[in-house]
Symmetry: C2
DNA sequence: TATCATTTGATACGAACGTATCATCGTGGA
DNA sequence: TCCACGATGATACGTTCGTATCAAATGATA
């Protein structure tokens, strides 16, 4: 499937708007201005707004999973489950502006998924299950059963998501988050290397 | 501060709309219809929309904290930290329609807090810090230091929030969540009763 | 009875929205 | 050369939104 370039630019503009102002900031005219194209062209690709938003979210889900596959290819094999989990926290927690943006995107997606189970809901599930599958797969290869690995993957994902929310809301400093996670990992360790 | 009855009805209508359709579903006309009053009356109380939404969110933050204070008054004292944490998961996880609604409200609030740090952001922080203060207070009274109690409170809140999201997105069954939490608590136990 | 808060009705205004329409370029292949 | 197609521009339509305005009921209270 050729990505057409232009269409990608427009979807990236949608992402930026989502990050900056949530779902309400995504209007056809705002997308046109952000992508620096005419309103007519935004209609030209992705004719309807729902279609455009749906395609953007689908692309987003793919990107978030792909990001982890790429990481696994860089460091693969040499890591134990504890290192993998630690790396997941490092990447998932909103500590710099890039990961803050990503967290904001996730919250927008989550909100959309509630309102619109069809379009955004499917994209959100794709995003989450893709992440869970990957993380569970990496964890399983060591000394965990499949079901235990998936359970741990979901626990880590849940904790990371929740801590991210607390971080962004200013309830938790970055330093507090680090010691919190260190404690959490210390509790986890005896179970992972018996 | 007299609560005026009518104003409360209107804010409850706002809550129902938030639960059902997110922020976008909250329009002055929709609020009027939901509360079964005229549009004019919605303007009469809470003259502007931001004002109305802000008051609703503020009230919501108070309610969520009060809910826990009430619970602590019912069961007080007799509980160890582990029981308190277990009860928190039981109440915070979206397992019935009422707690699902509450979770949806929280996500709406979270999304609003990103877009609008002023109004919704303050309400969200009030909600979170109120919960953290209460939970940390209950946990501290036993064998945890103040900082350790707060850290644990935030960890539990984060995990509950994240697992709630995974539950509502269908990535986690209620049964899986229960065993996951049981495992988590088992890991926690040795630290709480030394 | 007179006053005042409360409630409703009908309606209007400007803005922003999604969407549609018509005309127009430029450029590469037939 | 012609023509089809991708890409734009300008503009308009109908809807919905927040907000405002003028008028009029209702009911309690003083």
């Amino acid at each position: 499937m050729e990505e057409s370039g232009r269409r990608t630019e427009i979807m990236e503009a949608v992402e930026r708007l989502l990050v900056r102002g949530g779902v309400n900031a995504v209007t056809m005219r705002a997308v046109a201005a952000e992508a620096d194209v005419s309103l007519r062209l935004v209609q030209y690709y992705g004719s309807t707004k729902d279609e455009l938003l749906g395609a953007t979210l689908d692309r987003l889900a793919d990107k978030s999973v792909e990001r982890w596959h790429a990481r696994a290819r860089r460091h693969g094999e040499g890591e134990g489950p504890l290192e993998v989990i630690k790396a997941f926290f490092d990447e998932a927690l909103p500590t710099d502006s890039a990961s803050e943006d990503f967290h904001r995107l996730g919250v927008s997606l989550e909100g959309l998924a509630i309102t619109n189970p069809g379009m955004a809901g499917q994209a959100y599930q794709k995003h989450l299950s893709g992440l869970a599958d990957h993380l569970a797969g990496v964890l399983q290869s060591n000394d965990l059963s499949a079901t235990a690995a998936r359970r741990l993957a979901l626990e880590v994902m849940g904790l990371a998501h929740g801590l991210g929310t607390l971080l962004m809301a200013g309830q938790l400093s970055e330093l507090d988050a680090q010691t919190l996670i260190k404690n959490y990992l210390a509790r986890l360790e005896p179970q992972l290397s018996p």
